[in-house]
């Protein structure tokens, strides 16, 4: 069965620190990859996605993620976090041809001002 692993469950940073959240998946074929974010009191929303082309994808609010096929990874990065980035971050993976994303457990990010 396909699984998605997010290694960091809780991350605490100060503003202006750099961020990298890990995401690994177990499926070896074609995949579509997503990062979703859930801000406090809000619903889940898409941050960025990859399904083909340039493996470095840019999303909203200065976030980016790099697909490294050989490592089965899709890590999320931001060079300088802000207090407003405090949220829960979820990595999700679709097998190619599947309509159903499998989500990781999520990473809770707290950014101190």
């Amino acid at each position: 069965a396909q699984s998605v692993s997010q290694h960091n469950h809780h991350v605490i940073l100060s503003e202006a620190a750099s961020l990298e959240l890990g995401c690994n998946y177990s499926y070896g074929g074609t995949v579509n990859l997503f990062w979703y974010v859930q801000y406090p009191g809000q619903h889940l929303q898409l941050l960025l996605k990859y399904f083909s082309g340039d493996p470095l994808v840019k999303g909203i609010k200065g976030f980016e993620a790099e697909f490294i096929k050989s490592k089965f990874s899709f890590n999320l990065r931001k060079p300088s976090v802000q207090w407003s980035d405090t949220a829960e971050y979820f990595c999700a993976v679709n097998k190619g041809g599947s309509y159903i994303p499998t989500f990781g457990r999520g990473t809770s990010l707290i950014v101190h001002p």
Binding site: H9, F34, H43, L44, I100, F103, G104, G106
Partner: protein, 114 residues
């Protein structure tokens, strides 16, 4: 509608009672999903609809759980004889059904079984 709407937003029930959770997806979205979010457990897939059909219901945890979708729109998730372990946030999402497209999530129903 403008977004995915779920009701109720909160539901407190007694163990053994039945509950119905409702999802109104974005108009025109053919795909509809139910997920369950438990504390520290991430999102657990429950069921997927394409139109009114459910080609994948493999995530339903037991036969106490069922779901239907009518008119290619509104979906209802029913939990019979609720148990305390059913307590969670139940999330509904919809998409255009193109596979690689993003999901649009509702705000969820917080279910508490006492």
């Amino acid at each position: 509608g403008a977004g995915v709407s779920q009701s109720p937003s909160n539901k407190v029930t007694e163990k053994g009672k039945d509950v119905e959770l409702r999802c109104d997806p974005i108009s025109g979205h053919t795909a509809l999903y139910w997920y369950r979010q438990s504390l520290g457990q991430g999102l657990e897939f429950l069921i997927y609809f394409q139109g009114n059909s459910a080609p994948d219901k493999s995530g339903l945890p037991s036969d106490r759980f069922s779901a239907e979708r009518t008119g290619g729109s509104v979906s209802t998730l029913t939990i019979q004889r609720t148990q305390q372990e059913d307590s969670a946030v139940y999330l509904c999402a919809s998409s255009s059904g193109q596979g690689s497209e993003k999901l649009f999530f509702g705000s969820g129903t917080q279910l508490s079984v006492l």
